[in-house]
């Protein structure tokens, strides 16, 4: 696989098309000391953190959307279980602009952001700067350039071009920002059909591609399956205690359960 111990990884997809199958393969392969980047860590990074894969988390909103907390993240932060992790927290605007800078080959991006907040003194990799063209104070955010970006998409064609539609979040930026790009798709098709709000990712940008049907579950893949909200609610219970989480890990990930 293309992920090595110590790598900086970004599994992107905002609520939609979260690459769960690929993320769980990282757990199965027992990768360690990863720096994990995602705007919303979501269940997938809660799983990676609980499994001990992550040394540092860079993020902007760390909850279980619509449900509550990410218990494995909280346990790691509060009690260092299963290991201590470092965090670096931003805003969605900051994170997405950090990918834009990385994608553009620039050291930083500029935005009006974080103004008046305590993030200014607590968060690394940001700096207030004076506009060179006026009297405004602006915020510079350092580029993100993951070693590996992993995304899930709906379709690939026979030449490994990829088509994705629906909510894409910061996926495109995370792809261009990365040194290597891994894509999982629902299926291979002979020809792409035009779709509302779609993008094509040319194969030139892609390092490796794999077919993983339902690879975004319990998030969703527009046109294939809906978000499994019940599973997001169930995760609250599964992840609450270390025992129940470890049972899940053994049953669903290490015993080859296909969840």
């Amino acid at each position: 696989m293309h992920v090595n111990d110590g790598d900086t990884i970004a599994l992107e997809g905002f609520t939609h098309l979260i690459p769960f199958a690929a993320g769980q393969e990282i757990i199965r392969q027992k990768k360690r000391e990863l720096t994990a980047i995602r705007l919303t860590p979501d269940l997938i990074y809660d799983q990676l953190i609980g499994a001990g894969c992550v040394a540092k988390l860079i993020f902007s909103w760390g909850g279980n959307p619509g449900v509550g907390s990410l218990h494995r993240l909280r346990d790691a932060l509060a009690n260092g279980w299963p290991r201590a992790i470092e965090i670096e927290e931003h805003t969605h605007a900051g994170m997405t602009n950090r990918y834009v800078a990385g994608a553009s080959g620039l050291p930083f991006a500029i935005l009006r952001g974080y103004a008046g907040t305590d993030l200014l003194t607590k968060t690394q990799n940001i700096a207030q700067i004076d506009s060179p063209f006026g009297n405004e104070k602006l915020l510079a955010v350092a580029a993100l350039n993951p070693d590996v970006t992993i995304i899930h998409a709906q379709q690939a064609d026979r030449k490994n071009n990829v088509m994705s539609w629906g909510i894409l979040g910061s996926s495109k930026e995370a792809i261009f920002a990365a040194k290597k790009v891994i894509v999982t798709v629902e299926e291979i098709v002979d020809e792409f059909e035009p779709r509302h709000s779609s993008v094509i990712i040319p194969e030139k940008l892609i390092t490796a591609l794999a077919v993983a049907p339902r690879g975004a579950w319990p998030s969703y893949a527009s046109g294939y399956y809906e978000r499994d909200n019940d599973q997001y609610i169930a995760w609250d219970e599964i992840s609450k205690e270390r025992d129940s989480f470890e049972n899940w890990l053994n049953d669903q990930i290490f015993s080859g359960g296909s969840n």
């Binding site: 909103w61 619509g66 932060l77 009006r112 907040t117 305590d118 607590k122 969703y220 909200n229």
Partner: protein
Amino acid sequence: MSNDLKWNSTEMMTIAAARSLQNEMICFVGIGIPSTAAILAKSMQAPDLFLIYESGTINTNPQKLPLSIGDGELANQALTVVSMPEIFNYWLQPGRIDMGFLGAAQIDKFANINTTIIGSDYSNPKVRLPGAGGAPEIAGACKEVVIILKHSPRAFVEKIDFITSLGFGDGPGSRESAGLLGRGPSAVITDLGVLKPDPETCELTLVQLHLGVSIEQVRENTSWDLKVAPEITITAEPTEEELAKVRALVQSSRTVVRA
């Protein structure tokens, strides 16, 4: 709250928030009660309310309550779906959004809000909350912001533990010196009533009570010495239509939404 009312206080809060939205406004919505209120408004007095969610869904018209900020319902019902740089850099940052609808865990008398940590030590907080998400820039750049949260002494505090999003800082002039373009919070709508910033001091002042609520009750649920306007209005009671619609929306989500 007295038991003989035909609605509960959360329903009243949601309905009061919905009434604050005008037709044709461009409104940036968070998940949970802000979302319920916005969807309700769209089915009542504001059918042409232009709803934007940070997941990139533009002018969306959800028929059921989304559990997450990126549910398929939001994308399927949208005019278009755009990337996150487009949402934050092109829609939000230049000041195109009329109204930002936000929730919070803690708020102070200048309407600064905290969604990051509870406790005074950032590196070892008592409770780790999800963090900033889109809120700091929404609070900064929307022309106006309405904050929706339940009244309690733990939420309405003298000093918040972390400034995640700036309201009026420490009083008049704070927003300007932080370089924020938007006017800031215009109202805080709770389950007990409505607070508005004093035009001169920017301090939140009780201006409106929901039916059946006393000033004393609001004071008991506010940890600072709350200012009260000389004339208090009473919120008009929910109509049958408003109640039926808000209940149908909550039913449609099949779960408790995050306040």
